[in-house]
């Protein structure tokens, strides 16, 4: 089984007056795993359901390979999907749940049984096959849903927050399993999540959405190193990037009566200055005062007031200044991010 290339062209979806997706262009390579990352209500599920064929797009085109599919019934699209609630059929056994897509294709019972067992073995749920969904654990339900999506060997696999109902420990384990399986099978996959660590860990490329719009589509490390705008900068990375709004003058960023020296390549006029807490230090030359210092375990997170703004600085464990103590902010110049007044990234 080999995945297929999936292209979205000018895809849009309106529900009456609600614009769930404004317009989306996306090119997913064959066999690639792409994550849709964004806050709640930004149109991730809607997009997935249009690809699956549940929703009709208001406008735009969907291609699987060279074939246009947006007018096709879901059963003619050859997609498998895992839903957030798993959506297993409660009145059928796990076996019958997984077998369901195959029986609809009128495949011979012996062949159905063989394929169900094979995928169940692969996912480690062979011993649950004669139970009902209500009689197995959440993790097993999640695998059963995955098995049902994969058993028909689809060209495209859609995953809508498949891990959000699992507890934290199983989640990290399931994350790795899904990724390994996906690479093994080579099925083109789209994973919806609002958990950035999940997106960054599992996907080849991540599409970041804000309300109804794609913000950036890039591999995880690029998303982190070169966020395309202030939304992505704020959304990706934890603790979030420090973003200061002010005015650029040659060689400096001006925040009220504070001047922060900046390296060359910065924009002119109003704009944003960004640097991550791990790229900031307390040994610089911008005067400020500590307001909070939290222990995160491996490091301490210090909140600093400079002029009208607050910034966060990650410092090594040994250092935990008391609130009220003066401190001088610095940052690593090579890791600075410039954004213009509209929030768009400037420079490399």
């Amino acid at each position: 089984m080999k995945g297929i290339r999936v292209r979205l062209k000018g895809l849009a979806k309106h529900f009456g007056r609600v614009v769930a997706l404004r317009t989306l262009d996306l090119d997913v390579r064959a066999g690639e795993m792409v994550a849709f990352l964004g806050p709640s209500g930004c149109g991730k599920t809607t997009t997935l359901l249009m690809i699956a064929g549940i929703y009709q797009p208001t406008a735009g085109e969907i291609y699987f390979g060279e074939r246009r599919v947006e007018h096709l019934h879901p059963r003619d699209r050859d997609v498998g999907m895992v839903f957030q609630s798993y959506a297993l059929y409660p009145h059928l056994t796990i076996f019958d749940n997984i077998a369901f897509p195959l029986t609809l294709k009128k495949i011979a019972p012996a062949e159905v049984a063989r394929r169900v067992r094979q995928i169940a073995d692969l996912l480690g749920i062979a011993h649950t096959l004669d139970r009902r969904p209500g009689q197995v654990s959440g993790g097993q339900q999640q695998r059963a849903a995955l098995a049902r999506a994969l058993v028909k060997e689809p060209q495209v696999l859609l995953l809508d927050e498949p891990l959000s109902n699992l507890d934290a420990q199983i989640r990290v384990q399931a994350r790795g399993e899904i990724r390994r399986l996906q690479q093994e099978i080579g099925v083109t996959s789209i994973l919806v999540t609002h958990d950035q660590s999940e997106a960054l860990a599992m996907a080849d490329r991540v599409a970041v959405f804000s309300t109804g719009e794609l913000q950036q589509f890039a591999p995880p490390d690029e998303l982190y190193r070169r966020p395309a705008n202030t939304f992505v900068a704020r959304f990706v990375g934890y603790p979030p990037m420090n973003l200061l709004e002010g005015r650029y003058e040659p060689g400096a960023f001006v925040l009220d009566d504070l001047r922060i020296p900046v390296p060359p390549g910065h924009p002119a006029g109003r704009g944003w200055l960004g640097f991550r807490p791990e790229d900031a230090t307390l040994d610089g030359d911008v005067p400020g005062r500590v307001t909070v210092a939290e222990a995160l375990g491996r490091e301490n997170l210090v909140t600093l007031r400079i002029g009208p703004a607050e910034v966060k600085v990650l410092v090594p464990q040994g250092r935990r200044p008391a609130p009220g103590t003066p401190a001088r902010l610095g940052y690593r110049r090579e890791h600075v991010h410039f954004f213009d007044a509209s929030g768009r990234r400037v420079g490399a």
């Binding site: 409660p90 009145h91 609809l104």
Partner: protein, 274 residues
């Protein structure tokens, strides 16, 4: 048997007191059915099967009891089936599909339910005559089923409203058509509702009197209730036989209850576990 706490015993007494009229009615029915004469609740006559002779002979120009029994079984069975099928399909459409006039239709269904059957009987009479369905089993079946539909649709809509959308989407992705979706996914999941509605429709049809009494004339098409009624309409009423026929009339319901007890109690006691 464990002893009940005092408070429960009190409750039990209260329940018994409330049921007393019904219980004594049943006692009367049982006694009168089997004895020649009964005074109050005390049998005075001989014990014997004399009152039950309607089982093997036609009594006083009436057809054999087996004919109305057969008619009643057909009538209730078909009414229940039609009501369950039609209501679940209509309810599914109302619950899941959006079509123009959906809300108005839903309101109309409720309003229809507000009319008692009796107030419609004259109009129904003319319509059936026009259609050539007057005095036929088919005619009463259609009328009875339509009168039960509003309740059925509302009941089933409530059940379908609880089905998850994701489950239906999953089924669509798995490759079902609308029809398979309804038949293989949606219906099995509202089984408790189907059973409840089917039981109600069956019992209501079994006990129905006004419709068959007014819309059926020929004694070959009588239902049990109409058959029973003829014994009461005579100048001299043979209460012994009335009781026996009444008991006989109740037997299928009791059998049904005994067979379906487990399921029914499950429905009323919080739903069948999936």
């Amino acid at each position: 048997m464990p002893l009940l706490p005092p408070r429960w015993r009190l409750l039990l007494v209260a329940i018994a007191a409330l049921s007393l009229p019904i219980l004594s009615g049943l006692a009367w029915l049982l006694l009168t059915g089997w004895f020649d004469q009964v005074h109050g609740l005390v049998p005075t006559g001989r014990l014997g099967p004399d009152n039950w002779r309607f089982l093997w002979e036609a009594v006083g120009g009436r057809p054999s009891v087996w004919i109305p029994l057969r008619n009643s079984l057909i009538f209730s069975g078909v009414v229940a089936t039609v009501v369950v099928l039609a209501s679940s399909m209509a309810a599914y459409a109302i619950s899941r599909l959006s079509f123009p006039g959906r809300a108005a239709y839903l309101g109309l269904v409720l309003v229809l339910h507000a009319f008692p059957a009796v107030s419609l009987i004259i109009a129904i009479f003319f319509i059936l005559r026009r259609l050539g369905l007057f005095d036929t089993l088919t005619g009463v079946i259609l009328v009875k089923a339509s009168l039960e539909l509003p309740l059925g649709i509302w009941l089933m809509k409530g059940f379908f409203d609880y089905l998850s959308w994701e489950m239906e989407m999953a089924a669509l992705v798995d490759g079902v058509s609308r029809w398979t979706l309804f038949w293989r996914i949606a219906l099995p999941m509202v089984r408790p509702g189907l059973l409840a509605l089917g039981t109600f429709a069956l019992l209501s049809a079994w006990g129905e009197f006004i419709l068959p009494f007014t819309l059926i004339v020929s004694n070959q098409n009588w239902l049990m209730s109409a058959y029973l009624q003829t014994f009461l309409g005579e100048a001299f009423t043979d209460f012994g036989m009335v009781a026996a026929v009444g008991l006989f009339y109740a037997v299928p319901v009791i059998v049904l209850f005994l067979l379906g007890q487990r399921y029914l109690l499950n429905i009323y006691g919080g739903g069948v576990k999936g």
